[in-house]
């Protein structure tokens, strides 16, 4: 029992609720939300250190023993994701101070932002299937409001589609929960894992597993990503960045949890299927990224490629593959947030997201340009930067599992990702400077600071990979050996 485990959920909820009381006090909102996210950062570092020394941390809510109550479980995988989520949230928040506008701030932007974080953290920490559904809904309802906040025509239109897709996929989630409850009679992850191992994963259980895969594929834009590009282009930059950094990653995290802890008995069916989904996602996402000449579209399609890449490591299901996926997930959260922030800054400067209407931005904005360059190389996986470490481990994993086609698709799409981002860089930053200093539509004042902070962190993640890798290794080990998780949650008696 460790009460710290619940803090990442409680802190943002309490801070958000306090802000709702003082609607017009924007300074208070800003102060409280920065403090809350900073506290989250400290709590997640504390959790990581504790897990490293003592092992998986568990909190049984209300003191009820494991299968009967709701358990909050913090293993290394969840704690690492908590850390990177709180980092990227903090920088998106700093970015939104200068960019979101007073109108939105007065209409509960900061409380909604914190509720979104609470939902994300809850999904990372929960050890119960239905509680996972509830945390998903906390996250999604906040995101519905954030995506439509401001009420422009485009936001309204896209939010309607986004809500429809998510309502349907939430219904499917409940259907899957109902089937699994009928088959096993329990909802606790650890207990589910025990029961599924006992009855074996045959016919019906594999069907339910694939239904779960379908649900989380919709949530994490894995192959069923038709809803993502438009919905992520509609909201303002700070919101789009936090969506791109966190929302799909929660779906990916859940796929990892489900298919390493509960449904790991029929890998030739489920994991191969995951591999095919991953390859299709990477290819289609890369085609989208190459096809468009709109900054927002290119960036959103890169989110999709990233999702496919992470899942390739799971499909391989070897120690290296899973380790690579965990590392790539951490990198992807930081760098996707970063590149969306930079893209937003470019659009703010030029007033357009069309590549062909802008050129020569590097003359007056060298810092922005080179930071975009660094994050583009990092996303493509160029050696000293953070994307490389994850990609090399995932590729190694897929080759070890003899999924050569999957590794090859991963490498080829990396090339296409590099091409799509370099297209943005060369069109926007190189060439003749058509936009003089006076004609700029907006200013990057105050925006460069969070961007450079995040860039520095992502570079450090690449250069200091040796520091992070031991933790990632622990995370991968607990994913590959579910008995540790089960023992921690159900106690030693089981």
């Amino acid at each position: 029992m460790n009460n710290v485990v619940i803090l990442p959920v409680i802190i943002p909820v309490i801070a958000g609720l306090m802000m709702v009381l003082f609607r017009k006090k924007i300074r208070l909102h800003r102060l409280l939300s920065v403090l809350a996210l900073f506290a989250l950062l400290l709590v997640s570092i504390f959790l990581i250190l504790q897990i490293e020394t003592v092992g998986i941390q568990v909190l049984q809510a209300g003191g009820w023993p494991a299968p009967y109550g709701i358990s909050f479980v913090a293993d290394m995988f969840a704690a690492l994701l908590l850390l990177s989520a709180s980092i990227v949230a903090l920088f998106c928040l700093l970015y939104s101070f200068r960019s979101i506008g007073r109108e939105r701030e007065e209409h509960y932007f900061y409380p909604l932002f914190l509720f979104l974080i609470a939902g994300v953290n809850g999904s990372f920490l929960t050890g119960d299937l239905f509680h996972l559904f509830v945390c998903f809904e906390v996250m999604l309802i906040s995101s519905y409001v954030l995506i439509s906040l401001g009420g422009t025509g485009r936001q309204l239109r896209e939010s309607l589609k986004y809500i429809l897709v998510n309502v349907v996929s939430s219904s499917l989630f409940l259907v899957a929960v109902a089937y699994l409850y009928a088959l096993t009679g329990t909802l606790n992850f650890a207990h589910l894992s025990v029961v599924v191992a006992k009855v074996g994963q045959e016919g019906l259980m594999t069907t339910v597993a694939l239904l779960f895969l379908l649900v989380f594929s919709i949530k994490s834009a894995l192959f069923l990503f038709f809803w993502l590009p438009e919905s992520y282009s509609a909201p303002p930059t700070a919101i789009a960045a936090i969506f791109a950094a966190l929302l799909t990653k929660v779906g990916l995290y859940t796929i990892f949890r489900m298919f390493t802890l509960i449904f790991y008995h029929e890998p030739q069916i489920t994991h191969q299927f995951i591999g095919v989904l991953g390859a299709a996602t990477m290819v289609l996402g890369a085609f989208g990224a190459v096809a468009f000449s709109d900054i927002k579209k290119i960036l959103t399609y890169n989110v999709i490629v990233g999702a496919g890449f992470v899942i390739a490591g799971l499909a391989a299901f070897t120690a290296d593959g899973v380790m690579g996926s965990v590392f790539y997930l951490l990198h992807d959260i930081l760098v996707k947030g970063l590149i969306f922030l930079i893209g937003g800054a470019i659009i703010r400067l030029t007033g357009t997201s069309n590549l062909n209407e802008v050129s020569g931005l590097i003359r007056y904005h060298p810092y922005l340009g080179w930071m975009f360059f660094i994050s583009a190389l990092s996303l493509a996986g160029i050696p000293p930067l953070s994307g490389f470490v994850g990609k090399i481990f995932i590729t190694k994993g897929t080759f070890q599992a003899e999924y050569f086609w999957l590794g090859a698709v991963g490498l080829l799409t990396s090339l296409m990702v590099l091409y799509s981002l370099m297209k943005v860089f060369m069109n926007v930053f190189w060439g003749e400077t058509t936009l003089s200093k006076e004609k700029e539509k907006g200013t990057t004042k105050g925006l460069v600071l969070p961007i450079s902070g995040l860039t520095a962190l992502s570079v450090m993640l690449g250069l200091g990979a040796e520091v992070i890798l031991p933790y990632v290794r622990i995370a991968a080990e607990t994913l590959l050996v579910p008995s540790q998780y089960i023992k921690a949650v159900l106690g030693l008696g089981e």
Partner: protein, 112 residues
């Protein structure tokens, strides 16, 4: 009994899917509501429909019905209630702003 309920749930899903695939926004929202009804009935059915007393300890029955699915459904109903309310308000707002409830006409233009 479970078979009858399953058929009913299937019917709900069919109608809901048909409505979601239509063009009118109101019909789509109705479709999501009907699908959610189907989901709630499915959770109840999957918990088992054996005879037993209502899950209240004051009653002196030998066996009680499973109380867990009822708690799940109660949670899901309120969540869905909130989402449907938000969805309806947003569609009203979209009607005011965009001037249509036909989703075929809700396409983006280049100048946005």
């Amino acid at each position: 009994m479970e078979i009858l309920m399953s058929l009913l749930v299937g019917l709900f899903f069919t109608i809901g899917t048909y409505l979601i695939l239509s063009k009118n926004l109101m019909r789509i929202i109705l479709g999501t509501s009907i699908i959610t009804h189907g989901v709630h009935l499915l959770i109840l059915t999957m918990g088992g429909l054996k005879n037993g007393g209502p899950p209240l300890l004051g009653e002196s029955f030998a066996a009680f019905t499973d109380s867990l699915p009822q708690a799940l459904i109660l949670t899901s109903i309120v969540i869905n209630f909130a989402v449907t309310a938000l969805f309806l308000v947003l569609s009203y707002r979209a009607y005011k702003t965009l001037g249509t409830v036909d989703i075929e006409e809700m396409r983006g233009t280049a100048d946005e």
